[in-house]
Symmetry: C2
Subunit: 364 residues, 2 copies
Amino acid sequence: MAEPPLRPGSAIGILGGGQLGRMLTLSAAQLGLDARIYCEKPDAPSFRVATSHVCAPFTDEAALIRFARSCDVVTFEFENVPVEALEIITRYTPVFPSPSALRVIQDRGEEKAFLSSLGIPIADFCTVDSEAGLQDAIARIGRPSMLKTRRFGYDGKGQVRINGDTNAAKAWRDIAAAPAVLEAFVPFEREVSVVAARGQDGESIFYDLTENRHENQILAESRVPARVAEGLETEGHAIVRKVLDALDYVGVLAVEMFVCNDGGPRLLANEIAPRVHNSGHWTLDGCGASQFEAHVRAVAGWPLPSSARHSDAVMTNLIGADAERWHDLAADPANRVHLYGKSEARPGRKMGHVTRILPLGTLS
Amino acid sequence: MAEPPLRPGSAIGILGGGQLGRMLTLSAAQLGLDARIYCEKPDAPSFRVATSHVCAPFTDEAALIRFARSCDVVTFEFENVPVEALEIITRYTPVFPSPSALRVIQDRGEEKAFLSSLGIPIADFCTVDSEAGLQDAIARIGRPSMLKTRRFGYDGKGQVRINGDTNAAKAWRDIAAAPAVLEAFVPFEREVSVVAARGQDGESIFYDLTENRHENQILAESRVPARVAEGLETEGHAIVRKVLDALDYVGVLAVEMFVCNDGGPRLLANEIAPRVHNSGHWTLDGCGASQFEAHVRAVAGWPLPSSARHSDAVMTNLIGADAERWHDLAADPANRVHLYGKSEARPGRKMGHVTRILPLGTLS
């Protein structure tokens, strides 16, 4: 599957034009590579920094083909890109990560079956295809539990918590009667994630285990090092290595996990993101080479960079009106401020992030 | 002179589209600011990452005015931009650094008189306006000495060394009979530089003293920390503070200096670069905030970042065919590779740079 490495001056196509595509574009530029963006939305933040862009739907086959032909490799910045679009592009230019890897991860049912098949611990779950099925699932998994649509979920969208008094019929309507999974609620101690990259030669790098805190089901804060028992980082890396190798994955991938403490600390895998991930934004300022550079190098067939960390870091998302504080945030010399060039600060919209950088060993 | 800080989403205009403009553009993007490039040359490397660009001569007043009106502030990436062009732009939008600061530095004669007037030690010199004047100057300054045109010099262009046997008439012809200065040759121990930034509020930051090595009068390597006697860094920062304050300077500026050891170590100022500087490229990987971010913040009226260094660093320029080694360089995990997106690797052309990053305190 390995392609010859892209020479400087080559073009990387990116499907999706949000902040992840924008930060990928900036990393590509550092390496002398052009970025071309394909995004359905006009005024996408990536358009302002990319060498060229196309604004067209993912169902426009002619536009996809023209785009594919203008790029030396194509990747994507979000997991809900239609696999069919990737398959059209693959006929004209290499696509990393592969459409087949994306297909597994796009469906929460397949994703969980895949993790289980690798012997990776996950929460109990069962698939749900009807209101009656949900009743059966609740009987089996118990309450509290989480009902999640199999597809198109992110930042808590398409999720309903099933509490002691939750009406199953209403919950089923709340997720629009979409195919779903019911997951046992995990009484976790902390949420963590591992961001890793795998190259076309099968070599992988793993960034340090990151501790995450969500608010309203959106990532609020990530910190490294994570406050976890010794050995858990190695365990987290081993889980992600299994995932990367089993998918013959090329690019950056993140796995979100729960730290449980039911008879000794252990990790339960929660979900896989087949892309650069918000919980890896700290790598821009805490490491020599960020997750964005790692992804660009992987898809371009370059040697992967070091994932070594030179600083402790606390990353805070700037959501909606938070970004109005940009001036005060920029005035604090320990802060590294990143703004995404979005014009409208809607509630819940990720407008930027700020990473506090501290000498290595400051946080414990 | 201070303007209100530019809000995210504002546009910074940059005159010149080379690698310095490109790296300024990437830093502006990180802060949510657009970059618009004005460059005489087609296919400028900055065009590929900027939000928009204009390709027109600096004598095109209508194009300059349209450009000025499309930007919230204008700056420049090279010191040979005509002051007249800046003065046209200033009528429509703020320009930093100011045209008056640039005017002093563009002329080697005025620059040296300016440094002397501040009590900053420099090599003996005198101005030369004719072949006869050169004969007199050699009699006064002695041999060896350096004949340098007053204007448009960079990377050793417009310079002739006057050795014991150099014919003055030929040297005068070699610099095309242009107004010049003759400088006493300084038997220096090392070459160093200080890169610093001054904000619109008059506050300044100073990056660590950098040791430089030139080959064929082009910077080959920079390293931090510099191998110099204790106290010289403080002296270097004090020199640059005088320069910044005297010019009421806004933005990044570099001063190249010689370390002499004629009866104790001391610094002689050599020349001022009124812009981000090649000897500050290591700040991209050795500091939280680079010289490029510092310049963007200064011209945008933002608080300046910290200049603190988190790593030791050795920066090597990739000149001409050096850049062909990109793959091997990228394979070394201690290397941070930067390529400028230039299509043609002419001899002597700066194609990229690579910075070796080492834990703080490794180099002594």
